[in-house]
């Protein structure tokens, strides 16, 4: 079947098998391999993308659900529109060593951006609770939490400008 949606700001039309998962569509058909698959039970969060502005695990979403929707993946996450600059959350992860092997990082970033967008007054406890669906095996989460708090503050500051 044919579906049309907005992918990272561009209108996209693709032919998909109805049983295709969004993560498979992204990785196999559209060659957007930044969205990762770390499990088969929707536990790890490596595949988180934004569907109409909300974080979803793309391993549990069928491609037909994208028809007419707005999808943002890690490849579309960036700073000021049109520039090549990193998003404030990406900058914060770099600044605070919020990543090691990088495999969980795209999902972490997408979850973190959504958390910060939803709650302008994030606390450490909020961040830890909000990341409960994203597993990282490398960092012990400490620098991820620090990064998310810093990234959220930077997002707030950018909004205020």
């Amino acid at each position: 079947m044919q579906i049309s949606f907005t992918l990272n700001g561009r209108s996209t039309t693709v032919d998909v098998e109805p049983a295709t998962l969004v993560v498979e569509l992204l990785r196999e058909q559209l060659n957007l391999t930044g969205t990762h698959i770390g499990c088969d039970t929707s536990q790890c969060g490596a595949c988180v993308v934004h569907l109409n502005g909300l974080p979803v695990k793309s391993c549990t979403l069928l491609a037909p659900a994208l028809d007419g929707a707005n999808l943002l993946t890690i490849e579309g996450l960036q700073g000021a529109p049109g520039s090549n600059r990193l998003h404030p959350m990406q900058e914060a992860f770099r600044e605070h060593h919020g990543l090691q092997c990088g495999f969980c990082t795209p999902g972490m970033l997408m979850t973190a951006v959504a958390l910060a967008a939803e709650n302008p007054n994030l606390t450490e406890a909020d961040v830890r609770h909000g990341l409960e669906g994203n597993i990282c095996r490398c960092t012990g989460y400490q620098n991820i939490v620090v990064s998310v708090l810093a990234g959220a503050a930077a997002m707030n500051a950018a909004k205020g400008e």
């Binding site: 969205t35 039970t41 536990q43 770099r94 060593h97 990543l99 597993i135 095996r137 012990g140």
Partner: protein, 795 residues
């Protein structure tokens, strides 16, 4: 021009840009023209005779290209998966080493053992065909626990391995230990289990293989921590592919922790299949598949006894362990619970006599091998737990008993009674630092505050040492290593002065692209941004043993340091020629070669350029070019250590243990990049927290089914399980590595389980609790509390 960023600085990581923007290059991201999809058919039984495989229905399924089984392996005369270590028992008898076929022949020995490989046009078609494969099993009883496996009536995995014992290994002076126990004022005894773990790097294993008939060359892309070792083991010992015809690439790898430092049968099957089907073959493990095929870790059952005099001085330590090997010997398998365990039983103490006996046992479980820490967390757990038991029984404060037995800083180098000689250390300094950082003096106030809420607060210590920087080849060879454990680095200076380093270690999260660039930047005086690190490709990197055992900086960094020294030495020859001075008069400092006592000199860039434009070169004594290579084989292990203090709160209503505070003061030697070291400590500690509080691989005795076979059953630490940890370093310099480094990748995982369980026991000690097995789950603690000597939560 950029800046020199050297040793001790904390630049942001070079590797981050690609990972932050979703542009990493992991094996599962790679596509090759004409690529096919492979799926493994795995045994659903823990133990069974493989009677027959009927391929006919599966072969007829749409899209199927080939189906390979153990019979095909035998027909092609391929080898067994090799074990890299051959240990011997006390009498010098070699371990039992049954073959480990890459696809099962005659028998399957664990759930997940590979039975067949299906190659099809798409993964879906391969999956559907795999469902149609008819495998006729005669199911046998399984044995999964070590205590059960050594019983006389236990199911036997191999006809020629009586009682499933692979090796009855020992270390130390048994008679001296027995004599010391006879004169002991007190003997502390402890039985414990070191729980079985599954490493679960976030990237599942994957591989792609391709065969080029025109050149007879193979390329294997694999999620490996050591591509050169895979090339050797698989090419030379399994598939009979000449080394120069086989390229192994391990690109970005999403975490390893040991799980990816073995040569796996999947790699061999896929490479072999690629030649048979004459098309690239790709396999990506699902997480469920990883649970039953990634090598597991730990799994010990131990009896320990510590003999003390009346003042609490340790006189002797005796440890008997049954260690689970699983169904076959994996690459490092038998080395882990023996050579990486027994020699660490001295810890940071002056215990004069130690004896250790380890029975290495086969069971119907996934093969067990190294997982972050590998042997040293098990040793640390036994020792640091029994020290607490002894202190409690003798009425000596837990910190005081440690102080009374610690090796003083002045006593280094210190020869232990169990092979290893520690070159440097300051355990007392780490302990003192941690006591302050953890605010131990106000613990009583915090404990009272918890008590007022009906909760039990406990404090736990772990003062530990480990052996890493694997490894001095001569020493390892005596212990049974079948290969060397050196490392190599090439420093290629381009005509423009930029530098490319080719190194045999593998970066899968440790930040090598940054740390190694700092070493080169500092030593050669070139800008940090002008140094790139290449790894993970046998066609680009000369040779290497890979990354494990906290060896990359210790051994690889040393090779890199040596190679840069050679570059400087050659640069001096070139400078001497250009400046018409004697070579001995040339100095190199801050990126400049100069004639001593003059203002005449050449920059590093000028020398690099001249190296490749050899006009007027004295060619008989000086070759063109500026590229040097070094191999480094360490003279000893390195011995990082430290003190970890955990503070927990137990809720008696639910049995939940909450980790409230965690403090680590570690001696990791010279710190190249403190940001990266802290990150390694955080991650390592949390893997130890996982072992202590959450993680447990559970098998069903009899059927051999893995009951904790998904991330919904096997509890990994999550962000909301953890407090902000305090980590710091208190370093003494390693005396034998070029930069004084000791390694930091595993210390967190080694020190932490004992600290946490000691804290849990402390919290419950008023109830008569003397030991808690890992993981200290709510269920386990709640049951313990129901049987405890005091009523709790009475309502």
């Amino acid at each position: 021009m950029g800046n020199v960023i050297g040793i001790g600085a904390a630049p942001k990581r070079k590797e981050d840009q690609r990972f932050l923007t979703g542009r990493g290059n992991y094996v599962s991201d790679i596509k090759r023209p004409g690529m096919t999809a492979g799926v493994f058919v795995r045994s659903p039984h823990g133990h069974a005779v493989l009677r027959a495989i009927d391929k006919s229905a599966a072969l007829a399924a749409p899209g199927v290209i080939a189906i390979l089984t153990g019979d095909d392996v035998a027909d092609d005369g391929l080898g067994s998966l090799p074990c890299g270590w051959g240990i011997t028992d006390a009498k010098g008898v070699p371990m039992k080493e049954p073959p480990f076929p890459m696809l099962a022949q005659d028998k399957v020995r664990f759930v997940g053992d590979m039975v067949a490989f299906v190659v099809a046009e798409t993964p879906e078609q391969a999956d559907e065909a795999a469902e149609l494969l008819k495998v006729d099993y005669e199911v046998l009883p399984s044995v999964v626990g070590v205590l059960e496996a050594v019983r006389l009536d236990a199911p036997q995995l191999f006809a020629d391995v009586p009682n499933n014992i692979c090796c009855d290994w020992e270390l130390g002076d048994k008679a001296a230990v027995e004599a010391a126990f006879k004169k002991a004022a007190h003997v502390a005894k402890l039985s414990l289990v070191n729980n079985r773990l599954i490493g679960n790097p976030m990237e599942p294993r994957a591989a792609i293989a391709e065969y080029e008939p025109g050149t007879d060359r193979f390329t294997l892309w694999t999620t490996s921590q050591f591509p050169h070792v895979v090339r050797f083991l698989m090419g030379a010992l399994v598939l009979n592919i000449p080394q120069h015809k086989l390229r192994v690439v391990a690109p970005d790898v999403g975490g390893g922790f040991g799980v990816k430092q073995f040569h796996y049968g999947e790699e061999a099957v896929i490479t072999w299949a690629a030649r048979r089907v004459r098309r690239p073959v790709k396999w990506v493990a699902s997480r469920s598949e990883g649970f039953v095929s990634d090598r597991h870790g730990r799994d010990h059952v131990t009896e320990a006894e510590l003999a003390l005099d009346e003042t609490g001085k340790f006189l002797a330590f005796r440890v008997k362990t049954l260690a689970n090997m699983g169904g076959y010997l994996s690459t490092f398998g038998p080395n882990i619970p023996t050579n990486l365990y027994g020699p660490l039983l001295g810890g940071v103490y002056t215990t004069p006599a130690i004896y250790c006996n380890v029975k290495v046992v086969f069971t119907n479980t996934v093969p067990v091998d190294a997982y972050r820490g590998a042997g040293r967390p098990e040793a640390t757990f036994v020792l640091e737990r029994i020290v607490d038991v002894a202190a409690s029984e003798m009425g000596i404060d837990r910190v005081e008993i440690r102080r009374r037995n610690m090796i003083p800083k002045e006593a280094y180098p210190y020869q232990t009674p169990v092979l290893v000689q520690y070159d440097s250390g300051d355990p007392m300094g780490c302990l003192d630092g941690a006591l302050v950082a953890a605010d131990v003096k106000n613990f009583g106030i915090r404990k009272a505050a918890s008590a007022s809420k009906g909760k039990f607060r406990g404090l736990g210590y772990s003062t530990y040492v480990e052996a890493c920087g694997l490894a001095p080849s001569r020493f390892a060879g005596r212990l049974g290593a079948r290969g060397g454990l050196y490392e190599s680095a090439t420093v290629r200076v381009h005509p423009t002065g930029q530098v490319t380093v080719m190194i045999g270690t593998h970066n899968h999260g440790q930040g090598h692209e940054t740390t190694f660039a700092q070493i080169v930047s500092e030593k050669l005086g070139v800008a940090f941004e002008n140094v790139d690190i290449v790894f993970g490709d046998t066609d680009r990197v000369q040779f290497g043993m890979g990354t494990y055992g906290s060896r990359s900086l210790v051994v690889g960094g040393a090779a890199l340091s040596k190679a840069t020294d050679k570059v400087i030495a050659k640069g001096k020859k070139i400078a001497a020629h250009l400046l018409e001075a004697a070579e001995v008069d040339i100095q190199f400092e801050s990126g400049k070669f100069s004639v001593a006592g003059t203002d005449r000199g050449k920059t590093f860039e000028e020398i690099a350029g001249a190296a490749y434009v050899p006009h007027d070169y004295p060619l008989e004594v000086l070759e063109p070019g500026l590229e040097e290579q070094a191999y480094y084989d360490p003279v000893n292990f390195t011995y990082p250590g430290g003190c970890h203090i955990a503070e927990v709160e137990v809720d008696p209503e639910t049995g939940t243990v909450t980790l409230l505070n965690y403090t680590a003061v570690d001696d990791v030697g010279t710190v190249i990049n403190p940001m990266i070291v802290e990150g390694q400590l955080h991650g390592g500690i949390v893997q130890g927290v996982g072992q202590a509080l959450f993680e447990n691989a559970v098998y069903d005795e009899g059927s051999g089914q893995l009951l904790s076979g998904s991330l919904m059953d096997y509890c990994m630490p999550r962000a909301d399980h953890l407090p902000m940890m305090k980590v710091a370093t208190h370093s003494t310099l390693c005396t034998h590595t070029p930069m004084g480094v000791k390694g930091c990748g595993e210390v967190g995982t080694i020190g932490s389980p004992a600290a946490i369980i000691n804290a849990v026991v402390d919290a419950l000690s008023h109830l008569g609790v003397t030991h808690v097995d890992m993981p200290a789950t709510p269920n386990r603690i709640w049951r313990l509390l129901q049987n405890a000597s005091l009523p709790v939560a009475a309502e």
